[in-house]
């Protein structure tokens, strides 16, 4: 993975010192809150319901074991002993003191980390496929390009005060695990017929109160033109994006109002006028960065490990773990291990300091010291030998990290909701906990198969409910929390926004309603391989509505 050189380190240290000075001026009263607010946001500091929150960038979701240990240290020294992994592959700490944040940033800088642009109306942390580099269906590793964009977008003088936040996601695989169609810009790595690397560019996707699937603005842009083209899109947006209404300020509204063809023409016009040579990545830079992402020194192994087969046959719990949490690696004899941060009844995405330490140790021992964070709020060890899986699983079990539910109904994305967030209209964590408990039974989960539930505590949709096969949105009606259910959303390469089923449910009813939907699905499916989403696509909402509302 990418390692800072002296230049990167100097940059991050200067940025930390700059923010320290801003915090001091704020604490001494020289800087008013209104003037400080955008500055702290641009450095990941939010004011939540009860305290400040610090969101630390995990660029494209890649961490070294050393970095994870430092996050663990920060969680225990400045917070309550845990951290929360987010849908942007970042980690946030919910209880730091403002006065401590500059010290935390120094601690982060010690391990090549920062909180730059994890919030604010600027270009946010670039996200990517958590299986980058090892997925069997990958055209090319997106991480070098993500790192290039991280650098290019850091403290960008022209694009730090955009109409609204700006999120870029990139994938190098055919299956989209980075939800690129729900980003302001989505990039898909491609090779053209000459074998040249380039990108399909999508623009104007997003969730929030007006969910939209991104539209294609270019079918292929060469690597050389990537940064100039991004400048052209951002300049068009910075100049023309709406600033009169916060809820209409994302680029998706501009693209929607102008129409993709007009927007493309505008971007092309700007693009043509740019001094592209100056805006391109310097010669050799992508090669320099790519070196850091060369695959580790794998051993030559058999395709299928006999030890693994034996252990699976002997231990049903382990077998369930392998079935759900272990994915195919492109190298024979290796596998991708997904570690669920969704224990039954737990808080989705939370990890304690000691769990982080365990994962860091396991990464060192079994996975070349590298950890990934997924946008579904789980962790990944991307290079584990099949023959090590059983021992690894035992160690995970000791740390209560063995939950076998990746992609299953209890592997929910959940926003912080009313327990933390000032914008929330309802709680989301307790809803997730109730659903999780209802479906705790492993054999029932396995029977149900892949089903993504996503929960947001208000229409801002941080819990991606629009993209959930079952989406749950917490609202408020005269002081009572109630929950609207949508069906049929999807965040993958067939991105779709879910449709509302009907009247909402109270906090006590939601888990029961999900239960009814799931039972209906089991009745309707033609075979076990027909997933929940497939059935919804085939039969539509009606049968589900009937099941839910028949006796209401």
């Amino acid at each position: 993975m990418y390692v800072y050189d002296d230049f990167d380190e100097k940059f991050v240290r200067e940025r930390a010192a700059q923010f320290r000075d801003q915090v001091e001026r704020r604490l001494s009263g020289q800087l008013e809150e209104a003037q400080f607010r955008p500055l702290r946001l641009m450095n990941g500091v939010y004011l939540q319901l009860h305290a400040y929150m610090l969101r630390v960038a995990v660029p494209y979701g890649t961490l070294s074991s050393r970095q994870l240990r430092q996050l663990s240290m920060i969680a225990s020294k400045y917070d309550k002993g845990y951290g929360h992994f987010t849908t942007r592959q970042n980690i946030q700490f919910n209880w730091p003191q403002l006065k401590d944040i500059p010290d935390i940033l120094d601690d982060l800088a010690d391990v090549g980390m920062h909180a730059i642009q994890t919030s604010g109306n600027c270009i946010r942390n670039v996200t990517s496929d958590q299986w980058s580099g090892v997925a069997a269906d990958e055209v090319a590793d997106p991480r070098p390009y993500a790192e290039l964009m991280r650098q290019w977008s850091s403290l960008h003088p022209e694009f730090s005060y955009l109409p609204r936040k700006f999120k870029i996601a990139i994938t190098g695989a055919v299956s989209d695990r980075a939800a690129i169609a729900f980003h302001d810009i989505g990039l898909q790595l491609l090779k053209n017929s000459d074998g040249e690397i380039g990108f399909r560019v999508l623009v104007g996707g997003g969730l929030g109160r007006t969910p939209m699937v991104a539209k294609q603005i270019r079918d292929f842009i060469s690597f050389d033109d990537l940064l100039p083209y991004l400048v052209a899109i951002l300049r068009a947006y910075n100049i023309e994006g709406r600033r009169d209404n916060k809820y209409k300020a994302r680029i998706k509204i501009l693209v929607h109002e102008k129409g993709i063809d007009d927007f493309r023409a505008r971007v092309d016009d700007i693009f043509e006028g740019l001094d592209k040579e100056k805006l391109r990545a310097p010669k050799g830079e992508i090669e320099r960065i790519s070196k850091f992402f060369e695959l580790p020194a794998y051993e030559t192994l058999e395709e299928n490990s006999p030890e693994l087969a034996e252990a699976r046959a002997a231990n049903a719990s382990f077998n369930a773990f392998v079935n759900r949490n272990v994915a195919t690696h492109k190298k024979p004899g290796y596998s991708i291990v997904n570690i669920s941060l969704k224990p039954i009844g737990g808080i989705p995405g939370d990890a304690t300091s000691s769990q982080m330490d365990v994962v860091a140790d396991l990464a060192d021992q079994y996975s070349f010291g590298e950890i990934r964070v997924s946008h579904e709020q789980n962790l990944v060890l991307a290079h584990v030998k099949q023959s090590d899986l059983f021992t690894l699983w035992q160690r995970l079990r000791e740390a209560e990290l063995e939950t076998a539910n990746i992609g299953a109904i209890t592997d929910m994305i959940t926003c912080p909701g009313l327990d933390y967030c000032t914008l929330a209209t309802a709680r989301s964590i307790p809803i997730a906990q109730k659903i999780s408990e209802k479906f705790a039974d492993q054999s029932r989960q396995d029977l149900i198969g892949d089903l993504k539930i996503k929960i947001s505590g208000c229409i801002n949709a941080c819990g991606h409910h629009h993209a959930g096969h079952i989406g749950i949105l917490g609202l408020d009606k005269k002081g009572e929390e109630y929950y609207q259910i949508t069906l049929g959303g999807s965040g993958d390469e067939n991105a779709a926004v879910g449709d509302i089923l009907g009247p909402g449910f109270s906090a006590d009813e939601v888990a029961g309603a999900v239960d009814v939907l799931v039972d209906r699905y089991i009745e309707l499916r033609e075979s076990k391989s027909e997933s929940f989403l497939d059935v919804v696509k085939r039969v539509g909402l009606e049968p589900f509505k009937e099941a839910l509302y028949a006796d209401h």
Binding site: Q35, N121, E158, L279, P282
Partner: protein, 158 residues
């Protein structure tokens, strides 16, 4: 407020044209773009210097000819969170090849000063009382940058 230029307060001779007033022949005058557009010939007869005051919803490319004749362009920053002027500045410099003084006026604060300098602004007309020492320090908090186009005097990776 005095103008900030090169890290110092300066008293310059520019006068902003009052609303409704006619464009005078003499003196260094800052003229709103709309006024200038309404009477382009009045500009040609001037003996003093002319600056254009351009609000942030204007597409500067539409006014290339006028801008080419201006001795100074003043872009507006009604709120420091509104970043349109940064892109206007880039279009002026990069696409219209504008080379004269570029000023920013309005909600100008120390914590955005470096971005402004990097986008090509060279004089600053702030609504606020600026502490010059803090201003100059803020300009030097970062000595490194990843963007080459806007580098100013910052260091890029070699």
């Amino acid at each position: 407020m005095p103008i900030i230029k090169n890290g110092q307060f300066v008293e310059d001779g520019w006068v902003t044209l009052e609303e409704g007033a006619a464009v005078p022949v003499e003196g260094d005058v800052i003229i709103p773009l709309e006024v200038a557009l309404a009477d382009v010939t009045a500009l040609d007869g001037r003996t003093g210097k002319t600056a254009l005051l351009i609000s942030n919803d204007v597409d500067v490319e539409d006014h290339a000819e006028l801008i080419a004749k201006a001795d100074m362009v003043v872009l507006m920053l009604p709120a420091f969170t509104d970043g349109r002027a940064y892109s206007q500045a880039m279009v002026l410099i990069e696409e219209l090849d504008y080379k004269n003084e570029l000023r920013i006026k309005g909600d100008v604060l120390v914590d955005q000063a470096l971005h402004m300098v990097r986008c090509g602004f060279d004089s600053f007309d702030s609504n606020h009382e600026i502490d010059l020492e803090v201003w100059n320090k803020a300009l030097h908090k970062m000595s490194t940058t990843y963007q080459r186009t806007y580098e100013g005097d910052l260091q890029v990776r070699s």
